[in-house]
Every structure is written in structure tokens, then in C-alpha cells.
Subunit: 152 residues, 4 copies
């Protein structure tokens, strides 16, 4: 396990603030449950508003929280005056996303001055048992001198 | 341009019915605006509930409608007693998803008895101008003898 | 079809020179058969040295020429004092790569100052008939002030 | 770490035999250095015949051995009368592949009756130090009743 050293000591505050401004995460009902250097975890409780046609979590919703968990994992390692954008992500849906909640974990595989690579895992928790339902990879780009929250 | 021949003449009805049962698409506000053999189009009007922290459409939302458009494009070509699941999708976010609405188009590249491959394009429409903001690819698997809507 | 305008009028010469310095492409036996703004085509004749265990072209070889075709497609649009590196590529092997030769085409989907996105298609030609055997996407990064061929 | 149980006790022999029939791996010079249930390792010594234009290992070559390592990792877990084909793979080239050799490791993330998902890592070894230069994911499909080596 690689240990990452954040350059902004207040990274967790900055990230929770940014996450709170994501209308889409609020609308889905995702909560940020863990923020560590290079790793972020989100939880999403089951609701019929999050399903595909067979009643499981929608694959696009699973992908959305995976993308977000990976993006903020990368975000933990950048300076305070920078922001991160997703370049691309790829997700394999490896089991039905069937459960009371999803837990999405994003981890930095390789931080970089310009590009950062993350991996993501999403688990479905049902009756106390956790099953990995998705695995993914993501490429992000750092924008310098562009604080995530504009002054105002 | 490849012309595909649907095996189920009622494919459009079956697909619109399946889409209507996707709680997640209803919650996001996506509408199915076109259903043709091998091609499906969705539209998603802008709302603050769909944004990332800078006010654009969230990349995870863009990915979710791309996944859905591709999935239903594949769905147009299968028998009435089968269903389709996404195996994996990959999406490149190539421009800010900035506009009054997104239009996601899914197209079958290669239909198959077991696996089908699709490509997806998402455009952001702003003041009448359309800009491609995402491109993707997707692999789906057909489940035979498993109608999308269970009898009941 | 997008028309791209190259910034370096001598792009084709620069690209053929770079390709000729790729030991791996020479070892596989790939030839560069077309170089246009935003589009490059490679051909690879069948040899037992290029096969997987069932005698078809190896998927890794198919991926390698797709990566190269996409990379040089991106290369056609950059200044003479820059170079291009592949960030990531994804390839779907959609039919057996069975034929006398493969033709790999790389096309720029979205050129950018930093990142460029390409799509790739590989066709297997057998007895005069061409079958698409792979489709892919690729992300590349431009390195400025780093000519592809070092002075010397 | 998941422990996998092979269904064919002779899986290692079967895999080494299949690998030996891959003309492409012989032509590149790859060796199979480890075969365990759900995990396979390949090594590839540096040669000018494997390079891109700057003298590093070619990204397509890196991808080819990653694809092969992942494919055979999946192969360790299937019955003797089945074979495995790559459906798709995605690889991020995260550092220059600069070294005396590459070590590619493929690991099964999720084995399945039809589809298996693997992850791949490629490290470049230079002067005794190992640097991860690529990470990837792969989807494979199992073909039943189709032994990898035809009788005859």
C-alpha cells in the first residue's frame, strides 16, 4: 500500500466543501464517508429513484459514484489552488448492484503533476454481507491556478 | 452506416416500457427521444440537481445517460424474451458538459448472439449550438429466456 | 466528417520518420499506408510470428497497431517541436482477426492543446473481404518543446 | 487476497502449452515466469525490436503482454475442455517503460461462468529497481466445449 502525502493540509475540508456543491451527488443521495490521502469513500442508500428496470441500482448510478469517489481521491493530493477534472473512466459491472446501499471507494494508483490515475471499487451491502459489484479505472487532469471554489 | 434488422417488431414499445421502469432515469429527468434499430437517443434538460461543483452537468450523469442510450440501442436488436445487461463502459469527457440540455446517442457497432458492442456520443446544446462533450464505448451481454419485464 | 488543419505542413514526413524509428513496428512488420490530417492507416501482413494459439492475429498485436495508428493520427495535428504519448487505450476485439492482413485506422475525435482523443478500427482482410475485428478509443498527451526526434 | 481453486488440476501444463503456441509471444521474446490459480506473470527482456521512437518499450508491446498475462490468469480457472478469448482490454501507460525488462502480472478480479474480469500491472525493471509503468483491466469470455488445443 502506497502512502501519499497531501500538499494541502486542509485537503479534507476542501474536498467535503466541493462535494457538497455537487448538485448531482445531493440529488442521488450520496454521502462522503471517508477522506484520506489518496482514498475517498462514498455511500449511497438504496431508493427506487436509483434503479434500473429490474430494481437493482442502475449501472449509470454505480458509475457516477465510482467516478466521484475516484475524482475526489485524486483531489486529496493537489494544491489548494488547483482543481481536478475527469478525463475518462471505465467501469466493469461485475455483479448485480443488489443491496441496501452501495459503498464506492476511489484510490489513487499514480498521482502526477498533470495526470492522475485512480482505481475504483463499488460494493453492494445486503443483510450485512458486502459483494463487489463494480471495478473501474479513471484518468484525471489537474488544472493549476484554478481553485475548485472560485473566489466571490 | 450499417442497417440493422430488429427481430422483435415491437422492439420500440418494449424499450420505452423498460426505460419507463428505470427509476434512475426518471429521477434524473431523462427522456427517450428516438428509438430506431440499433440506435437510441436520450435527452436530459439542465437542472442544478445534475451538476458537479462548477455548475456543469456531472460527468457521472453524462456517463449514466450514455450507458443507458447504448444499452437500449443494443436492446433494439434482441428477441422479446431476452434482456441486456451492461458488462462495461468507458467514457471520455472531452469538453465541459455546459448547456441547456444533453443529447446522448447510443449506436450498435457490432451486435452478437452473446455480446454486443456499442458506441456513445453525448452532445451539450447551448443557445442552439451543439458540442460533443463525451464519447464512449460499451460492451453488453444478452440474457436469453429472461424477458426484461417479468410476467406477473 | 471533421476536416482538420495541420499546423506543421511537413507533418507527413515527420510522422513517417518517427514511425520508421519504432523498432516494434518494424519487428511486427507494420507498414504506414496512409497519412492525412487527423487520420493514419497501417497495414500488417499475416505471419505465424503474429499469432495467438489458434492461429489468428494475436489480440495484443491487434491492439499494438491500433494504438500506433491512433497515436500517429493525433501526431498529424501537432507542431513540429512537440511529441505525443499514449495516456491510455481501450480496445474491443469484436471478431476473430482472421485474414491475410490487418488494416488499422486511427482517427482524431477531438484534438486538444494538452489531450487528444482518437478512435481506432482494425479490419481483417481475407480473400478480398474486409471484416472489422476491433474497435478502440485512445487518450494521448502532447509534450511541448520536446521534438519527437532529438537534435543530434 | 482472494484464493482461487482451479477446476483442472493440470492447468499449469495446459497454459504453458498454449502460451508456447502463441507465435506473437515467441516473436516478442516473452517468457512465462509464474502460473498460479488466478495469477500469471510474464517477463520480456529489452531489445531494440520492442521499442517506440524514443527507445522505450512500445506501448503496444506493453499492452500485448498485459493482455496475455491477464488472459492466461483467467485461463487458470477454466475446465480443460474450454478456452478463453479477450473481449476487451484497457491499459493506462503511467510511466515510461524504461528498463532492462518488463514484468507483466495478470490477476483475476472476478471469475465467471461466461465472463471473467482481470486486472493487469506491468513493471519496468532498471538497475534492480522496479517501476509500475502500466495498469489495465480486461474482460474475457469462456468458450465451452472448445478445448484450447484441438485434438488431431
Amino acid at each position: 500500500m502506497i502512502r501519499f502525502e497531501p500538499v494541502d493540509p486542509d485537503f479534507a475540508t476542501r474536498i467535503r466543501d466541493s462535494f457538497a456543491r455537487q448538485g448531482a451527488m445531493g440529488h442521488l443521495g450520496a454521502r462522503m464517508t471517508r477522506v484520506e490521502p489518496g482514498e475517498v469513500e462514498l455511500e449511497l442508500a438504496y431508493r427506487p429513484e436509483l434503479t434500473q428496470q429490474h430494481g437493482f441500482f442502475h449501472g449509470g448510478v454505480t458509475g457516477a459514484i465510482a467516478d466521484t469517489a475516484g475524482g475526489y481521491a485524486a483531489f486529496t493530493l493537489i494544491p489548494a489552488d488547483a482543481t481536478m477534472l475527469t478525463v475518462e473512466y471505465k467501469i466493469n459491472l461485475i455483479a448485480p448492484a443488489d443491496g441496501e446501499k452501495l459503498i464506492a471507494t476511489g484510490r489513487v494508483l499514480k498521482p502526477g503533476r498533470t495526470l492522475t490515475i485512480c482505481e475504483m471499487e463499488v460494493a453492494a451491502v445486503k443483510g450485512g454481507a458486502s459483494t463487489v459489484c463494480a471495478r473501474g479505472m479513471q484518468t484525471l487532469i489537474r488544472l493549476e491556478g484554478r481553485p475548485d471554489r472560485p473566489a466571490g
